[in-house]
Subunit: 428 residues, 2 copies
C-alpha cells in the first residue's frame, strides 16, 4: 500500500490507508487515546481504543518515527474533519529521545539560543519550518521572474585571491599554502558575466566576518544577486527589481500559502510602480539636516511611514545616495556627480535591497580608485575586463534571510535561518 | 526606440530598429564593410557603405560595445536571412583592447590556460558560453523536477566546525580566531533536514582541497544535492534520481537548444527505467576478478558498453557496492551486510552520480564509527539528531560541472566552469 500524506486523507474517507511521520503528540485519555502524527504536509489524528494498541502507544515517545495503517473516517469534531481509526502502528525506528522543548505547542517556548543549539529538532516546529518554506518559495519566484526576462543563472567562486570590495570583515583561508579569502559578494563576477550573457543572476552564500553580534547580521547568508547590461541608467535596474520582488512575493503567496497561514501573515502587494524619492528629497521628508551624508534608521522609518501615507506602498526607492557613501564601482549621476546612480529599496521603513548603476569604463575605475586613495593592484584581474568592452550596466543584491525576516516580522534574523553562522556560532 | 535582440530582427523587416552589443568582427572589403554585432541572442550583420561611417568603423576594435540604429532588410545571402543597412553606429564606451585571441573564429584556438587566465573575455566565445547555458538549463530542470515532487530547497552552512566526512582534503579557515573548515558537502545537513521537510535539495558550492591536478577535479564545484525520507530502500532514491535526470536533460533540450546546436550535440534519452546491475554482477560483466573491492575506470567503461549493447541505454546503475568502499553513514543491504544499499550511476561508462540509503538509527551510527575505528566526537552534533527520530532515508549528489562536462564531451572540466578553482588557480 502506497503511503499517503496527511493532507490527502480527506480524499480517502472509508478506505484503509498508510501514513507515516513523527509522533507529534499523544493524548492518553481514560477511554480513548489519540496519536497525532506529523508528516511533511501537516497532522493526522489517529484514534486508539484497543488496549494492546494503547499499551504500545504508551511506549512511543514524541518524535518517534511511525507508520500507521488505518481506516479514514470523517469526523466533524476532528481537527481536519477526518481521523484514522482501528490503526496498526509500526515504529520505523527506536523510541525517540524527546527534544528539550515541546514541538506540539503552538509556539516554541525555548529561548532562541536553545532552539539554535538544537536546530535539527527545533526546525521541525511548524513556525520555524514555515519561515524556511517561505524562503524556498521566494527564491523560486526570484528565479522564475528572471528566467522569464532572459537572465542566465551563474555560479561564481566563493574563494578569492584578494580581499576586495571592503578590505575589512573578510575570512582568511589557507589555499594550498597561499593566502585566500571567502568572497563577500559575487559583485565583480556578476559584472564580468554581463560581458558574456548581458543578464545574469546568482543565488549563493556570501561571507562577512562581522565582528558585531546583532539581530540583523549573519557571517554567512544567502545573497540573491542580479546584474544586467545595456541599461540607460539605474532606473532600468529598479524596474527589474520591482518585477523580481513582485515575482518573489507572488511565489510566496502561491507556493507557501500554508506557511503564511501558519505565521498569520500575508505577502505585501508590490505597486506597479514603486514610489521613488531622491536622497535629498528623502532627507527633507524625514526632517533631517540637508547635509546628512546618509539615512539613519529613524529617517528610514519616517520614509516608510511617508510611503504608506502618501502612496499606500510598503516599498519605497531612495535614489541618488551621495557617492561618498557608495562603493567605488558606483556610477555617479551625470547631472549631479556628487550623487550616485545608486539606490536602496526600503520595505516598511527598513533597507531591504541595495543596487545601482556601475561604472563601465576602465578609465573611470582608475579615477574612482585614485580619488579614494585605493591601489589598483588588488582589483587588477577584475578591472582588466573593462578594457575589453563592457556595456553600461547595473544590478542589485537581496539578502534572502533579511528578506524573509522582514516579511515574517522575525525579531532576529536567526529565527529564519536553518543553521546560522555568526561571531559565536559555528555549530550545529 | 526600444532595443531589440539580434534574434528578433526577422520580425522587423522593413523597419528601423536599434540593436546593441559587441563588435564581434569587422570585414572591410573594397566596396563595402560589414560589422558583425554580437549580443546575448546571437549575431547581427550590419552593412556599411557610407565612407564616413566606414572610416568610423575602422576605429572600432573588436569587443567595443556599440549601439546600431539601422533598417532591417531581408537578404537571402546574409547569415540569418536579414541584415541591417544605412546604420548609425554609436560606441557605448571607448574602443576595446582586443583580447589575446579571436572571439569570432569558430573555435577558440588559445590554450586552455590562456583561456582561463582571460576568462572574462574567453567566456564570450559561443562555445564557452554555450556550456554555461547548458549548465543553467540543467539546474533549472533539476529544481523543477524536485519542486514537482514536493521537495523543499534548503541553504546550509559552508563553514563547519570539524573536518567531518573524510578528514583529508579540507580547507582550514580562521573563524573569529577559531579553527573552522570549508564544507566538503551538505551531506549531514541535508540528512538533518529530512527530519524537517522529508524531501530536500540544495544547489551550492562544495570545497575539496584536492592536491591532484587532473582534468576531472575542481577545488570548488557546484553540488546538486538531494535527500528524501520514508524510503523503503535505495531503489526509491534511484527512482527519484531517474526522474530528476530526465527533468534535467529535458530542460537542457528545451531551454538550451541553441547551445546544444552550437556544440553540435544532443541530450541523451533517459530510459523510463534505467538498467541496474548489482556490483557483483558488474564485476562479472566487466570480466574483473570476483574479489575486486571497487570498479576501476576500465570496468566502468566495459559496463557502459554493455548497457548500450544490452539495453540501448547511456545510463547504468551499479548497486550494492561493498560497504568497505562507502562512507560510514551508508546503509548496508540487510540481506548481504557486506554490500551496501549504495549505488553509482554511470553515464557512458563514467561515474556521474553517487547515492544510496543512509543509516537512520543512532545506534547504527555508533556501531558504524566503532567498526571503522573512528571517534564519535567530531560527529556528535550531527548524530544527536538521530536520537530524536529520523525516518529511513537516502539521497544522491550530482557534480554540476562534471555532468555538463560529460554531456558536452569536454576534455577538461575547466572548459565548462566559468572561473575554476584548483591547486594552481585562484584568479580571475
Amino acid at each position: 500500500m502506497k503511503r499517503i500524506l496527511s493532507s490527502q486523507l480527506t480524499a480517502h474517507v472509508g478506505a484503509t490507508v498508510r501514513v507515516a511521520g513523527w509522533v507529534h503528540r499523544r493524548r492518553l485519555l481514560k477511554s480513548v487515546a489519540f496519536l497525532i502524527v506529523r508528516d511533511a504536509a501537516g497532522l493526522a489524528q489517529v484514534v486508539v481504543t484497543d488496549p494492546a494498541a494503547r499499551a504500545a502507544l504508551e511506549q512511543l515517545t514524541e518524535e518517534t518515527v511511525v507508520e500507521v495503517t488505518a481506516m479514514v473516517v470523517a469526523t466533524a469534531t476532528a481537527p481536519a474533519g477526518v481521523e484514522l481509526t482501528d490503526p496498526t502502528v509500526r515504529p520505523l525506528g527506536p523510541p525517540a529521545v524527546p527534544p528539550p522543548f515541546d514541538l506540539y505547542r503552538p509556539a516554541l517556548t525555548a529561548t532562541l539560543p536553545t532552539q539554535l543549539d538544537n536546530a535539527p529538532t527545533a526546525l521541525r516546529h511548524p513556525t520555524r519550518s514555515a519561515a524556511l518554506r517561505i524562503s524556498a518559495a521566494a527564491v523560486a519566484g526570484f528565479r522564475a521572474a528572471l528566467d522569464g526576462r532572459d537572465f542566465v543563472e551563474i555560479h561564481t567562486p566563493k574563494v578569492v585571491a584578494s580581499s576586495t570590495e571592503s578590505g575589512a570583515n573578510v575570512f582568511a583561508l589557507d589555499w594550498f599554502g597561499r593566502p585566500a579569502y571567502l568572497a563577500q559578494s559575487p559583485q565583480f563576477y556578476k559584472q564580468l558575466m554581463v560581458g558574456v550573457f548581458e543578464r545574469v543572476y546568482e543565488v549563493g552564500p556570501v561571507f562577512r566576518a562581522e565582528p558585531h553580534d546583532t539581530v540583523r547580521h549573519l557571517a554567512q547568508y544567502t545573497s540573491l544577486d542580479v546584474e544586467l547590461g545595456f541599461v540607460a541608467d539605474h532606473r532600468d535596474v529598479m524596474a527589474v527589481l520591482r518585477d523580481t520582488l513582485a515575482g518573489m512575493l507572488g511565489a510566496v503567496t502561491e507556493r507557501a500559502g500554508g506557511a503564511l497561514a501558519t505565521l498569520g501573515i500575508a505577502a505585501p502587494r508590490v505597486p506597479a510602480e514603486i514610489p521613488a524619492v531622491h536622497f535629498t528629497e528623502g532627507l527633507k521628508i524625514a526632517g533631517a539636516p540637508a547635509d546628512e551624508p546618509d539615512l539613519a534608521p529613524a529617517h528610514e522609518r519616517a520614509l516608510g511611514e511617508w510611503a504608506m501615507a502618501e502612496h499606500g506602498s510598503d516599498f519605497l526607492f531612495v535614489t541618488g545616495y551621495p557617492m561618498a557613501k557608495r562603493p567605488f564601482y558606483t556610477h555617479p549621476d551625470p547631472a549631479r556627480p556628487a550623487y550616485s546612480n545608486g539606490f536602496d529599496l526600503l520595505f516598511r521603513g527598513l533597507e531591504l535591497v541595495t543596487g545601482g548603476q556601475r561604472l563601465h569604463r576602465y578609465d573611470d575605475y582608475l579615477a574612482a580608485l585614485a580619488a579614494r586613495g585605493e591601489p589598483v593592484e588588488p582589483y587588477a584581474g577584475y578591472l582588466d575586463a573593462f578594457r575589453h568592452g563592457m556595456p553600461p550596466h547595473g544590478g542589485f543584491a537581496i539578502g534572502l534571510e533579511r528578506f524573509v525576516g522582514r516579511l515574517t516580522g522575525a525579531a532576529n534574523i536567526r529565527e529564519v535561518t536553518a543553521f546560522p553562522r555568526d561571531l559565536h556560532r559555528l555549530t550545529p
